[in-house]
Structure formats: C-alpha cells, structure tokens
Symmetry: C2
Subunit: 325 residues, 2 copies
C-alpha cells in the first residue's frame, strides 16, 4: 500500500499547487481574499481526487482532468461558505469562517461567484463534453440544495425516519462524491455501465463517509480529530439519533426527550452515549457502513477499468472511512 | 408602433406561460414554493425578451430560444433573492420578499439551487452550443457578483468616482443585458461582429436603464411607480450623488455632509433635490442616458440582422428607458 499512499500524497500536492496558482486566476479581484481563504483551508481534497482517479482509470492524463477536479472542490467549498452562514459557525477546520472574517454579505456574494466559477473550470479543458458534464453537474447542484433544505427542516421535526435521513445525506453529501467519479469517467470517455459503476462507487462511499462522520462525532477518539459530542449538544438529527428515535420504546423516548433539554453538557453527552450503547446503535452504524462500503467496492469492481486503477480508487474509499491513511 | 407593442405583450405572455408550466419542473420540490414566489412576481421580463428578440433576429423560432431566455430570468431572480437578504428588504415589487416569507436560510438555499437550474435551462435546447453559451454565462455570473461587492463597498466610501460608479453598474446590472442579447445571438448562429454588436446594444441599454432608475428614484413621478427619495434617505451612492460629490465645491461638500445626517426625511429629500438641480445633475443624467442610448442604437444598427427585427429590438430598448410602452 505504500506506493498508493505516496501516490495519493503526490496527487493532493498537485491539487493544492493548482489551487494556489491557476484555479482562482479569473475570480473577481474584490472577492479574491474571501475565496482564497476558504479554498486554502487544510482539507483532505477527497472529491477532486475522485475526479482525477476516475479519469486516470480510463487513461486520462492528470493535467487534462485537473480543472474539472478543482471545479468539484470549488463547488464543495461554495456549499461550506453558505452552510457556515446558516449554521452560524465561527470555525471551520480550526480556522475562522468566511462570514466571520469578511462579513455575511461578502460571504454570500463570494459563494454566489464560486458557482459560475466552478462551471467555468468544469468545462475549461473539456469543452467538447460540456453538455454531458453540465447535465450531471447541474443535477447534482440542485440535489445538494434539496438535501441542505431537508437537513434544515429536520431540525424542527422529531419524527424523521431512517429512510428520510438516508435520503437527506444521499442528496446533501453523497451525490457530490458520485458526480465527482462520474465526471472523471465522462472525461475518460467511459461507456454508460462504467459511468454508472463509478457514480455508484462514489455515492455509496459518500453515504458511508457521512455515517462515519456522525459515528465519530459521538464515539470518536478526541485525540484523533474534532471534539466529541457536538451533534448531541445540538440535538442534531444524526444517523445515531434518527435510528435511536425510530427504535425507541416509550421509556427510551422519554429519556431522549429529557436529554434534549439537559443543560449539563458533559452529562448530556455521557447519557446519550450510554443510551445509544444500550440500544445497540453503534453496531447498527458500523454494520450499515460495512454494507455501504461493500456496495461501493462491488460497483467499482463491476467497471472495466484496469485492476491496478481499481486498487487505487478502492484505497481512496478506505481513506474516506479512515480504515487506512 | 402598435404592432410591435402587441408583439411585445404576446412575448411577455409566452414567457410567463413557460414560467408557470415548464420552467420549474425539475426544481427541488422542497424549495418550489420559494422559487415560485420570486419567479411569479410581476416583472417586465426585459431580460428574457432580449434573448428571444436577439435569437429571432437571426431567424430562430421563439420555442428554440425560450428555455435559454428563462435561464437568464432565473439567474436575475436568483440575484434578487440574495440581494434582498443583504439589503434586508421587506418588499419586492410590492410583495413580501423570499427571506421574509420563508426565512433567510431557505432564501439562501433557494438562490443557490436557482443557479445550477439556470445553467440547465440555458443549454437544455442548445446542447451543441453548450461550451460557447456557458463561457459567456459564467463570465457574466462572476461579473455580476463583482459588481454587487463594489456596490456594497461603496456604502462605506465617500470618495467613489463617476468612473468607479459606471464600472460598478456595468458589472452589477449591464453585463446581464449584454449577455442576454449575446446568448440570443449565439443560439442564432451569429458571426462574431453581430454577437459583439448585440452584446453592446444590451450593455449600453443596461447602463442607461440603471441611470434612469437612479434618476427616477429622485426625480420621478410618484404616480408613475415607486416612491421618490429612497436612495436619498439611504445616502445611496447613486449616479446623481456620485456626480454631485465629484463636482462639489467645499460649500457644497459641507451641505452634502450635513444632509447625510439630516433626520427630517421630507427636508432631506427636498434639499437634496434642490442641490442636485443647482448643480445641474439632472441634466447630466439625461445627457448621459441620451449618449448611452445612442451608443446602444448604433451597436444594434451595426449588426446584419434584418431592419424589421432591428426595429423591434430598438423598441425594447426604448421601453427600458420608459420612452414608450
């Protein structure tokens, strides 16, 4: 795996080099500081990597797919800028958010300019495939917003089902991974079956990724990354909470309702963790992730790309689930 | 002119029919109420008309250019939704604004979904020209945001020059009219000179349109439309104010500074009107509009489209400046 890891690191470096040099060249000058701020926060760059790896799976040179890869990262960061406004978040990856640093108005406008910029980058080096690239990009763009709206609506509902939750994260998070893979495949001139196989790989990986995110927010190792318990303190409709609420008997429902109001933060986190463990929720999360991971791998294996490239893409899926580095 | 007027009315009706039936078909269901609200406010539909008329100038059937025309209207309305948030506006065309009716968060997300939707509509019936259509659309999209950011920055500056103001309205308002015309020309398969001629027609018309808007805000007839003096009460850097500030002698500068702080609204409006008249500002506005209108007509006349179509497009430019109906 060492060769693949080195390869991933080189790819991340190439992405970040492009971001610093060419990616923002034609961005409006009076919004540059804001877009540069969000685009150069430390990130894993998983989505552009998916574009590059998918394209490379079909023999495309990295350079030919780079601006499309960056397009997906610009789109992703545009959603972060606007989401942080809606969440009133002060920090993102340990750094000040765009709206806190530059004001809400400038953050709205910067995000608004990032979207046409992403579209420009998407087709820049693949103008002959503009129609097909745009069709899947636009569909994805609308789905992400639909998912964001569901996520916000869920805040005021206590009857969100697991199916509704899965649909929400499919829209809000996963279709972007699916589309990243599909775009790479389109640039690579893939056939319909391969495009669908790669889309599904990205989609299932994205679903597993989001559930892992929810799982680690409550059961993660604090040394490993972000603080534990954020979702619990916000009564956020995470995978864990939605499953718990759907399965709960009357006594458990009452405990949840009481915990929603609990003001002692440490107690609230601890008792939610206990309740989840009693109900077997962590295992449900792990089983669901395993199932989704298997589906993603099967979708990938179904494609006609060479085995060596499959290994690299599969590895990226494992990095997403923090099974490896 | 009666035939042209009837023709314009029929075109507006066709645009509004398409908006009610097909335009929002694939829009996210949970954001439909918000997008429908903004898209069906009573409007003049000048921008989509420009697309249709330009395309028709090259013999394109209305139907073939309709979704691209609506794309421009969707883009325009997306900017209105977000601008109203930034301006904290409660009303738009006499109706409640999207963020007042549905909340700021939903208004942000709805706007965000309108942009990929606009891109979809733009290429839907002209996929073979997707690359060229998108190149001019994306450039415009970024310019509009650049202009919006300048407009916001001007609020905190008292040294805005007339040149800076003209550049701001070029970006914020006029390039959208230019692009609307250019998109019609692209769909019509126009040559480079004709595309540029139509773009310039739209651009100059848009500049004149914005100056007319500023002029009427201070010197308009209240019976004719909106309330007089809104810009004055906000100390807004309008065409009138920017010209006055640039020309003012020391005494006039002091009067302006005093009037900025004036709390009696009626007095503030009346005294600003008097000052502007003393300084000859209304005439400067009218002369500038005349000059821009002439430039727009010359650009239109330079194109190779048939005279009859030129007449219709010229008439639309005159409707924009309220010279006729």
């Amino acid at each position: 795996m060492t060769a693949i890891t080195t390869d991933l690191q080189a790819q991340k470096a190439a992405i970040e080099d492009f971001l610093e040099t060419k990616a923002l060249e034609s961005f409006p000058g009076n919004l540059f500081d804001a877009v540069h701020h969000i685009m150069t926060l430390d990130g894993k760059r998983l989505r552009p990597m998916m574009v590059l790896m998918s394209a490379q799976g079909f023999g495309v040179e990295q350079e030919k797919a780079m601006s499309a890869a960056i397009s997906i990262e610009v789109f992703h960061n545009f959603t972060l800028v606007h989401d942080d406004i809606m969440d009133k978040a002060k920090l993102r990856r340990g750094k000040i958010t765009v709206h806190e640093k530059f004001g809400v108005d400038k953050a709205i406008v910067t995000g608004d300019a990032m979207l046409p910029h992403a579209v420009s980058l998407l087709i820049q080096d693949n103008n002959d495939k503009a129609g097909e690239l745009l069709t899947c990009f636009n569909k994805m763009g609308k789905e992400v917003m639909e998912g964001q709206q569901y996520d916000m609506e869920f805040e005021n509902r206590n009857d969100v089902t697991v199916d509704e939750y899965m649909n929400m994260i499919r829209l809000k998070t996963s279709v972007l991974f699916g589309t990243a893979c599909e775009i790479g495949a389109i640039i690579g001139g893939a056939n319909e079956a391969d495009k669908k196989g790669l889309y599904d790989f990205g989609l299932y990986s994205g679903l597993a990724f989001q559930i892992m995110d929810d799982y680690l927010d409550t059961f993660g190792d604090e040394n490993f990354g972000k603080k534990i318990g954020g979702d619990i303190l916000l009564n956020k409709k995470s995978f864990l909470l939605v499953n718990a609420m759907q399965m709960a008997n009357d006594t458990q429902k009452e405990r949840i309702a009481t915990l929603f109001e609990e003001s002692n933060e440490e107690k609230k986190i601890r008792e939610f963790q206990e309740l989840y463990r009693e109900m077997g929720i962590p295992q449900i999360a792990l089983d669901t992730m395993e199932d989704l991971h298997n589906k993603s791998v099967n979708a990938l294996l179904s494609t006609s790309i060479p085995d060596e490239n499959k290994e690299r893409i599969k590895h990226l899926g494992e990095v997403m689930l923090r099974r490896t580095k």
